[in-house]
Symmetry: C3
Subunit: 139 residues, 3 copies
């Protein structure tokens, strides 16, 4: 049995955005040398998501507008979490809806994804350095 | 360590629906010969979900109405993803809310599920052949 | 390869609430003796969630109000699942949005969590004994 661990660093220039991290996860997998197993990819921060969907700009705009309508940032006073001095309660909620993590199969040394599956980092409270964890387990 | 991989094929006659795939996942697990480990079950398409809930017809209707209210299919022009010529932006969103995958424990050769837990395939853009991946890791 | 299984019992005095179960998961991991691998933590009931977020009381109130607005308990007659004699359709929906499970990496014998990541049990239909499954796989 082999395990492998790598952190990916993210720093988005805006508060919200989606980054396709599939190439970085594939490189981590290649480094691991694992041919068969499971690959966990998770945000290490609670105002960000890792999820699988389509790499299409129009859809990403739809995602942002949808989340903003359900969990608006403004007015920040609507959320009791922001009474602590934070202004990111909406980001915690957006991350709950889009999820923390992806577990992908590893088959013959590759991420075993469907034809349109791409792994994204979803940032909901950016403009600072944050991490994604890749953990590989297999042989 | 053992790994095992199997694809389940789905083809729903309607755009949206839920299929209990627990028996098919159990058969895949039996084929794998794994007695202790983890079983990943994920949609390979980004307009479908795999999730665990109750096999109750009334609840499934509630799920459909709830998702349709939050992420309506019509009018298709409300979503920028549909400017690409697609009409399934709503399906990408519904899948985000219901999730991509389930990881189930394997104990003594069985799926280690609670008394009411059943694994479902959730289709949000059907009428075509789509796949679910089952990947088993353990011994 | 090692595997380890433990059930955590929950009984909340109210219908809805969040419990930080990180210490219990850490104890299960210590019992397992696994140093490198993956740890699955899942609700065994379909009206409860396991998720990772912040241990902050104001945020938990925001979570409850947000879910209640999206999937209201009252009037119970709005959900067809409740025609079966149940009154917990809203709890099935809330659990769908907050998810069933968490998969955490295990590194050097510890849960490999980010600085603010805490694992929660989310109860949406409480006042009775329910279970969370911890399954550890690694070496």
């Amino acid at each position: 049995m082999k395990t492998f661990r790598k952190e990916l660093w993210m720093e988005l220039p805006r508060r919200r955005g989606f980054v396709n991290i599939t190439p970085q996860v594939e490189r981590a997998l290649a480094e691991s040398g694992v041919r068969e197993g499971l690959c966990l990819v998770n945000a290490m921060h609670i105002t960000a998501s890792v999820f699988v969907n389509d790499d299409e700009r129009g859809l990403h705009g739809d995602f942002k507008r949808f989340l903003e309508k359900l969990c608006p940032h403004e007015p920040t006073s609507q959320w009791r979490h922001n009474d602590t001095g934070e202004d990111n309660a909406d980001a915690h909620l957006k991350r709950q809806l889009f999820g923390r993590e992806v577990v992908a199969a590893i088959t013959e040394g590759k991420l075993d994804l469907g034809p349109w599956e791409q792994i994204f980092y979803g940032e909901f409270d950016g403009k600072r350095r944050k991490r994604v964890l890749v953990k590989v387990l297999g042989e």
